[in-house]
Amino acid sequence: MTHYINKGNKAPKTGFGEGVLEAGWRNDNVIVLGADITTSVGLNLFKETYPQRFFSFGIAEQNCIGVAAGLALSDKIPVFSTYGVFAALRTTDQIRVSLCYNNLHSVIGGAHAGVSVGPDGATHQALEDIAVLRSLPNITILSPCDATQTKFAVIAAIEQLNSPVYIRFGREAVPDFTLETTKFDIGKAQELHSGNDLCIVATGNMVWEALQSAHQLKENGINARVLNIHTLKPLDEKAIIKAAVQTGAILTVEEHQVFGGLGSIIAEIVVQHHPVPMEFIGVMDCFGESGQPSELMQKYGLTSKHIEEKAIHLLKRKLT
């Protein structure tokens, strides 16, 4: 099994921007819509390279989604990105009717995921985007784990799908550890660490934390499997059922509300097919707040240390 190392911290938005640029270089039909925060979502790269295919629409997210639908109906591949709170929540009805009901190929980037947004505080920390969007038919939801994977996720969204896609990523520069050579398989869980004592199922930037906790657990003689769920919808149900059968204990880890988020997604499958003890790490039905990202991750229980403790607690439940 590959031993993943941090190649250096990198903001996922950079990967997002690089991916859109690369897919846009290959396909003239890629059109980017801006909603005033083009640089903070990494799309300035595309804007500077292909100004004739970048269109500014101002602070008007609902309109952007409708415009994306109109473009997609005319054989374009629209890419629209803003902070997740606006991209997914202000526009939910537009996404539901104009994009999902019409089942139109379009890419929505939800930036600023989670409390690690930091000092901006609760209004700008997307914690409910997965919960809301996953209930919409036809949508694919991607939650890549680092900048490199975000790049390949958006390329896959543009080149492999023909339906609406939401890609979620955080603001902070985080460890960039996945390999350029790893293929991005939409809908496939990635096993990043092997083990049969329990399975840590993680998504987004929490995957790195999960890996660190697995290393720590291993030193204590506990073998934890780590699954990276970069596709939240459609879910790789087989990998989850297999993990339940083979490890007998599942811990989910996400920087999102557990209600409706990864915790719910995995529990729905586990209870139907092979019930085993489960624990959840994530935001527990509350809003975020201002602070430094690392302080917030600590306060909200989202570090490798928290994962490790919860894993030990879960293992005890499994064994009693």
Binding site: Q62, V67, A69, Y101
Partner: protein
């Protein structure tokens, strides 16, 4: 086609709207009847389209932002030979292609986009116009909106963007009947001064009697010859137009006639032709 020929087609469309709604037992009669002349003008006079080839790439696009008046769209499409007129009687029924609000999922020929959640159609039309501009295509994009719908803020986001990008190929049509479900638009939420609002958003504003073919013809000709600005035709219509006993009555916004009422309404339309 002459105005009197168009009027006969519009009356036949009205009769089929009434029949389909009576068969469905629910739906929006008032607005559908009021727009029959606008739709007739569009599909039988103005539009560049090929009913036998609904996906023809050069066709003009029609976005029905007010999806609830689907009956007038369906009846007009059927009369334009997009699909058989008999199919109109499946409106709102299980497994029908004629959903309560237009659905792209059912692949009904002539339906460009699913719609029905108000305030979204103009944005979709802006996106289609943008694509036409990028591709240097000269087809036009028509977006049919309601007056009550203009209370949705997203309409104005879309309006702002259309003039920002000089979308002269875009033609919005506002069904100005002063009616919405709760009553008169003046009481529910004032829209006036409506012309000034559109002008302030950078649009070319054309006003006409939306139930008069001479005026409709002139309005569309004007809209089509725009050199820079997006165009809005404020079509003053009468809800329930053609059926004297319900004209202007907002209670008929969201109602379907009983079979008995339908019979009576159809006779009112036929007798007005004499």
């Amino acid at each position: 086609m002459t105005p009197s020929q168009l009027r006969i087609i519009a009356d036949n469309i009205r009769i089929d709207i009434i029949k389909s709604l009576a068969a469905a037992g629910s739906g929006h009669l008032g607005g559908s009847l009021g727009l029959a002349d606008v739709f007739t003008q569009l599909y039988f006079q103005t539009l560049k389209h090929r009913p036998a080839e609904p996906n023809w790439s050069d066709r003009d696009r029609v976005i029905l932002s007010i999806g609830h008046v689907a009956p007038v769209l369906y009846a007009t499409l059927a009369h334009s030979l997009y699909f058989p007129i008999e199919e109109l009687l499946t409106l709102r029924k299980l497994n029908s292609r004629l959903q309560g609000h237009p659905s792209r999922e059912t692949a009904l020929p002539g339906v460009e986009v699913s719609s029905g959640s108000l305030g979204q159609g103009l944005s979709v039309a802006v996106g289609m116009t943008l694509a036409a501009q990028i591709d240097k295509m000269d087809y036009r994009i028509f977006c049919i909106m309601g007056d009550g719908e203009l209370q949705e803020g997203s309409c104005w986001e879309a309006a702002m963007s259309a003039s920002h990008y000089n979308m002269k190929q875009l033609i919005a049509i506002v069904d100005r009947n002063y009616c919405q479900i709760d009553g008169n638009t003046n009481d529910v939420m004032e829209l006036e001064p409506l012309i000034d609002k559109w002008k302030a958003f950078g649009w070319n504003v054309i006003q006409c009697n939306g139930n008069d073919f001479d005026e409709l013809g002139m309005a569309f000709t004007k809209a089509i010859s725009s050199i820079k600005k997006p165009n809005v035709i404020i079509a003053n219509t009468i809800m329930g137009k053609g059926v004297k006993s319900i004209e202007g009555n907002y209670h008929w916004h969201g109602k379907a006639p009983t079979l008995l009422e339908a019979d009576n309404f159809i006779r009112q339309i036929l007798s007005s032709q004499l």
